[in-house]
Amino acid sequence: MELYTLTIHQAQEKLRYGETTSVELTESVLERIAQVEDKVGAYISVQEDLALQMARFADERRATGEDNPLLGIPLGIKDAIITGGVPTTAGSRILEGYIPPFDAATVARLRQAGAVFIGKTNTDEFTMGGSTEYSAYCLTRNPWDLTRVPGGSSGGSAAAVAADEALGALGTDTGGSIRQPASFCSVVGLKPTYGRVSRYGAIAHGSSLDQIGPLAKDVEDAAILLGGIAGHDPLDATSLNAPVPDYVVEMKRGDGLKGLKVGVPTEYFVEGMEPGVKTAIRAAIDKLADLGAEVVDVSLPHTQYGIAVYYMIVTAEASANLSRYDGVRYGLRQDGVDMWDTFRQTRETGFGPEVKRRIMLGTYALSAGYYDAYYLKAQQVRTLLRRDFEQAFEQVDVMVAPTVPGVAFEIGEKGDDPLQMYLIDVLTVMLNLAGVCGISVPCGFSEGMPVGLQIIGPALGESGILRAAYQYEQVTAWHKQKPGIG
């Protein structure tokens, strides 16, 4: 068996018992990348030498008796997350050649733990998209069908994990950007509660929605990665000051799912959902009931407003967040005839069409005379959406729904239709708006393509969703199926 196929916890076992080293593990992953990367295109950049150097260092640390679940584990980092000394582009030309002088808080924690960074995974430009087609650098293909997209915006991370080009990866999720590609690529993706993981060093898209989270081969790996990055950070004022439980221990508690109350939001079984997806989800819900969970219908009555509210808020915040890319201090500068022209030329050249579209939408929503009707109204409805979740979680412990109403689509299929692309997010954006947590776990296939089950928990309810996902995984084998790339 090739080392690159291992999960994090399997690899950890081998490292611990001296059956392998981090260098061997890393070399194996790099070999795998050499084999499949030209087909998959998961990475914007791979730092081979640096990875091996980190691996050697991890082995030295282990030799001194050090041990922790991420020591020596090769990971992919989404290129929208800041890595000190390593180019970070956010998938945009405007950051071409930019080498940040500091680490994201999450990256610093992983570095501290001794993880190995393989490379920077592909993303839609500034994480704006659901297919990774809007990357300025490369095209990422779905390992299950190379003619299809991997989802996005963390499509690179999801594809890398699915294709065994990393043992796990970090992604960012503003409206579904971890869960949706996880669903499309048949891996586990977890979006933590807003504030659970520091955003310091996550290149901002929608600041009130962004979270960094793990993409992993199974639920236990997701729990390990989450434990490695979660916790209060004084550099992020929105970070929550709550203790971090041992998620691996927590998720294994209990007898099956006895005592767990699972809600099924009726509004989430939307019209136009692919029949195969619906079938897979219904079967998964039955499995949860078999495990002892009590399944009831719940209602999230304001669901229909989710997409509109989300795109109003996310574009407004993005329009301001992207103002710093002006060519003055870093990244691309396109000199114009004067200062204003330099700003204009730099942004005209540096940003792709989707980013420009969103900046314009957001700028419009915040403009005087429109603010009340758009941005303010959206914030008010967001409060109602939040309340929907609070009320639902008074009745149930977790909720389940499809992650996406469909499966991975063909490359180029939705590229010309932004609205179609936006609608893919219909079942994922709600969690970001409400600030709650969710996980997508493989739950079957529809027409040969993976389907993900979304398990939703309340704020700081990560242990609960991990437990449900873990128990479900114990009695299914979807996560063990591998794509035959080619």
């Binding site: 997350i81 800041i82 970070t88 956010a90 950051l95 930019y98 940040p100 002088p101 500091f102 994201a104 955003r199 310091y200 060093g201 996550a202 290149i203 901002a204 929608g206 600041s207 009130s208 004084p234 550099l235 992020d236 004022a237 929105t238 407004a316 915040e317 329009s319 301001a320 992207l322 103002s323 710093r324 002006d326 003055v328 201090r329 870093y330 200062m339 204003w340 700003f343 700028t363 915040l366 403009s367 005087a368 005379g369 603010y371 941005y375």
Partner: protein, 482 residues
Amino acid sequence: MKYQPIIGMEVHVELSTNSKMFCGCSADFFGVAPNTHVCPVCLGMPGTLPVINQKAVEYTIMTGLALNCQIQPHNVFARKNYFYPDLPKGYQISQYELPLCLNGYVDIETEESDTPKRIRVRRAHLEEDTGKLTHVNNHSLVDLNRAGVPLLEIVTEADIHSADEAYAYVTKLRQLVRYLGVSSGDMEKGAMRCEVNLSLTDPETGEWGTKVEVKNLNSFRSVRNAIAYEIERQTKVLSKGGTIDQVTMGWDENRAITFLQRTKEGDTGYRYFPEPDLPPLDLDPAWIEEIKTGLPELPDAKMARYTGDFELTQKEALVLVEDRSIAEYYESVVAVAGDAKGVTPKLVSNWVSGELFRLLGESGRNIADVEIKPARLVALIELVNANTINQPAAKKVFGVMFKSGRPPQEIVEELGLQQISDEDQLVSIARQVIADHPDPVEQFKAGKETVINFLVGQIMRVTRGKANPQLAEQALRELLQS
């Protein structure tokens, strides 16, 4: 003048915190090598986030309380969006709908009236400063040391009606921030920056004129001069039947004129919205109360106490209260003097605002460096009260004390300045002086009263300044009249 000026002011005060508003960088930027007090946060690098500087909030609350504002328990920071090379993030983190301080006032002294005039403060809020651009040939150099330094913006209602009132207002504001120790208040160093909104009202129709904004006011003098100039300019335009455009004017200090900077677009373009990177700042009322309790005594209260308890005149008190460290020195001397020793607050005031101010001015030294211990100044005054030394000798002693801080008794003895108060001795000296100066004596006897000063002066000369002048004069008069 036909038109009544209506003036509102926006003053930006740079808070003298150690670190910047949203990062750990030093907030010191004056005379610092460009772009050395910067970090990823204040450079606006991708992925960075702001964290509120609590000291800046405390300083703002202190100032708000001193301005008699209501401190708002629920605060929201907002992004003010615009592009400029000195603004690293492309937005300034400021406060918009929910500022820290609302509805206060400042009382200022005016020439026209004995009672102070009240200027209402609409709001005071906290924000971050921008960097600085230096234009060299065809290029602009960006220095971001100042970017992110905490800035307090204080906005008045349009209650100011003349250049003098505006001047008095900013002077008072500077005095307050210095008293509170929240800012150097140095306009020349950019620690206080003023913008003026000015319009002229037609008193007959009561109609408000078009508002003109005046910027670049970098000194107290320029505040006064720019307003005076702008009032005159607008009056001329209106008198000729012209109209005033809503524009922003700059003040050219060298040419002493205002000039058109840009036509007004309003703040409609700023697209303010709540800063998502900072949760609302909800203040603990107990903390506000604690800050209130810890406030120093402010100038108005000091004035009342000095003119009341200390029986100083308004003018005497004003001079002492002007600077907090002077007032504190003065009060420490008064405190040591106590009630019993005949060293009245008034006598102390004479010494502090007389000789001490003169020597401070001459030496260019600061009150903080003055080594005269309060007890020693009291001792000096007591020596005068006890007629041990006379006033000129006392000034001489004070001069030595100012340089060395030594006790006055020691200096008196060393210099042999003890006053001659022995009447027999003075009478015999007076007799000699009368004999030596027959002409002035004749003049005095003929009724030229002032000649007595000359004769006293002669006694002082003979005694090398040590004669008690009152007793010397008394001896002369007795001899001359007998």
